[in-house]
Point group: C2
Chain length 448, copies 2
């Protein structure tokens, strides 16, 4: 048997052929199992949702602490008590917090709509009147950030996402002289999909850097701010304070939600920013809103009690999902360690594992997995327009399936990764004229 | 004592002076009562909200009829069962219905945003790329429709709202040759504020009329579709079918909500349209939504049961608010009938009474009422940009206060209307050089 600890690239042709045959056999066995597993999206598992089932019969009253009838119209900025809880969690003051509906994505979308149609607090004109609007997109990143920008016709410029945040020299060079660079997406805590945490230093540079656009905006999507997987809880940088201290108080707009805290589809979303930005957002919001669902706000206030209630609740999530992340690592280590064909993250929080496979094989891995009944996020989805220039990045989302399924699925994924890598290396050795696009078919021919 | 049945304009100068003095005395007594009453907005009363308090501890399960876990992400178009209920109520099919968040205003807003940024199904280009976009606004109408358009820089062209709908010859003339006329607001059932119900004939003309703009859109805001005040229940015209039959299937977009059925701030909103329009709306919605709050959808499904459940529920509302509308009519009749200074509606549904006072006195009436502790919607608010050219229109919203308060407030309003009218007629008689803007002060001088 081929030693799994020998890098595939170092194997002799015969050894490689043997390894390939083994993987083909393993893959055939995998397919024969007729699995039907899904690792595509960062969805909470039913067991996680169950943690919040008390919400189904709350609130216990129709009137909040301040005497507000939460059933009626009004209160555009959200229920005061809920804003207080999030202000504490996000280290800001309640008057810098708006609580909205069930989706922070919606708040991000409407923020960009406001920039496009009306311009922001520091905008010389609405973005729709600019010749070109471009955003910096650290990659790998969140696919829905990118598809949103694409839908608006906003151009995306990629920079690398490192373990402490985006490649700052690249970011600083882009924003310095080009006024068409209007924004950057940042998932500061346990980033989607890399798990990176933006360091204090990187955050300070983002807050302070000179930008050609006066209305350059950091879309600080703190979706996983409280979503720790270990007892060492990462603390995201306090971007609002940093930006204010650097003389750019209106630069960051922070987003968060309870979608991965309570109910994914029935939580509450939060926006936090400087007071002028809050006033700007509310002004436009007032034209198309009768106020948020304050009953759901009160429901959450009663459920959590206070900020510590949120933190305690998150520890229950950790108990459910941390073993799933461990299972991913175990399966990948068992199947792939030492082969030199894959690297993956061991995130300390968030919802994803970032798997980088052999260059040029990610699409093949996803296709193989699909044929074996294991649904993965499409290859390239963590890049703007779905284009991963190295075709190596795969986002794994292990939270939704039960633990046993995660184990089964990830063992299968490891087989697919090893098979695709062996195919690729074999094809590469068969000649430099090989066309990568058809290489898989021909590789199978070689191996037969 | 002056005979209250004699039109004020027919009184002799002495009689008029006597009437004015009486009204001033009555007004002084009114002010002395130190009232604090609010008839500004069409808000359900707490007793109405109480009708839906079972929602506070629903749903009883986290899974719907079809096995959907309503707590998790997804289901952009809304829960199937809720769409079925609204499809029946609005005479369409579930695949032409989207159930959204807590506000139909938000769905209207996002529809216009989509037209502006992307263009509609039949648009040659996004509206933001048009030199000019104009909407027809039947007046009096809903202030928030108008403020929304103003915020987008969309010009408003008014036509008269009659008891069977908008002035159709005026509408047809406007849309026929002018491609900048892109839309019209229609509140078809128990219109805000006139209570008018758009007739079958008017609806058919709206559906069939030739329009220069290929993407001319009827924003059919059926906010009061089921909000009857009598046993004779008005049936709004089936605009979707009429438009499809006329070859303009994409012309109408219907909006409705349960804001005045269950909880004003925590209900569910509905959009209904042709299938291409539904697909278009969902496509853009998908970029900024993780799906609606399906827990709230299921909550409403369990609460209503079916479409008949909605209708039965509305009869309970009627029992609470019909007496308030009767009280408005009684107070206005008692205080103003025969004076020839006011006309008002006796709506058979909806949330408002439309009060037309003597030309040029509406602002004065609202100011007098305010000083007496009775808050009314600002004069002119039912007209674009708040400008009522005749300064005569006042929208009364009697649902929120309890019955006794409605009686008290409306008796006070009647006093204010009579006083302002007497002031105005007195001022007019005092000479044609009188400046209306300062007339009130001088009138008081005359009367002293």
């Amino acid at each position: 048997m081929t030693d799994p600890r020998t890098p595939l690239a170092s194997l002799s042709d015969d050894e490689l052929a043997g390894f390939l045959a083994e993987q083909q056999e393993a893959y055939a066995a995998l397919r024969a199992r007729g699995l039907k597993l899904d690792l595509t999206r960062g969805k909470p598992a039913p067991a996680q949702l169950d943690l919040s089932n008390d919400l189904l019969h709350l609130p216990s009253t129709a009137t909040d602490r301040d005497g507000v009838d939460v059933r009626n119209y009004g209160g555009l900025e959200g229920l005061a008590q809920l804003r207080e809880i999030f202000a504490e969690l996000l280290w800001t003051s309640p008057d810098q917090v708006i609580c909205g509906g069930n989706s922070s994505l919606t708040m991000m979308y409407s923020t960009i709509v406001d920039f496009l149609l009306f311009g922001g607090v520091d905008s010389p004109r609405p973005w729709s009147q600019e010749e070109k609007v471009r955003f910096i997109c650290p990659v790998p990143g969140y696919d829905r950030h990118f598809s949103m920008l694409a839908s608006f016709g906003i151009e995306m410029v990629t920079v690398d996402m490192h373990q402490d945040g985006p490649d700052m020299p690249a970011v600083e060079a882009l924003v310095k002289d080009d006024p068409s660079i209007k924004g950057i997406w940042i998932v500061p805590t346990y980033a989607n999909p890399s798990g990176a945490v933006v360091s204090q230093e990187v955050a300070a540079r983002l807050a302070a850097m000179p930008t050609a656009a006066p209305d350059f905006t950091i879309f600080w999507d703190n979706a996983y701010a409280f979503h720790h997987l270990t007892e060492v809880e990462a603390k995201s940088a306090d971007i609002l304070t940093l930006a204010a201290a650097s003389g750019h108080p209106n630069r960051p707009i922070m987003f968060a939600s309870t979608s991965k805290i309570t109910f994914a589809g029935a939580g509450v979303a939060v926006l936090a920013a400087s007071k002028p930005v809050i006033a700007w957002y509310l002004k436009h919001l007032s034209m198309g809103s009768i106020g948020p669902d304050k009953v759901n706000h009160l429901r959450h206030v009663e459920f959590f009690g206070d900020a510590e209630g949120v933190r305690a609740h998150m520890r229950k999530h950790r108990e459910i999902i941390a073993p799933k992340f461990a299972a991913v690592d175990e399966a990948l280590t068992s199947g792939l360690a030492g082969l030199g064909v894959a690297e993956w993250t061991r995130p300390t929080g968030g919802y994803f594992v970032n798997l980088d496979v052999l260059d040029g094989t990610a699409s093949r891995v996803v296709a193989l997995a699909k044929e074996a009944g294991i649904a993965l996020t499409p290859a390239g989805s963590s890049f703007p327009l779905g284009h991963d220039p190295r075709d190596r990045n795969i986002r794994l989302a292990p939270t939704f399936p039960v633990l046993d399924e995660v184990r089964t699925a990830m063992a299968g994924v490891a087989t697919c990764v090893a098979l695709a890598a062996a195919e690729k290396i074999t094809a590469d050795r068969s000649g430099p004229t090989e066309d990568d696009a058809t290489g898989v078919q021909q590789t199978e021919g070689v191996a037969r």
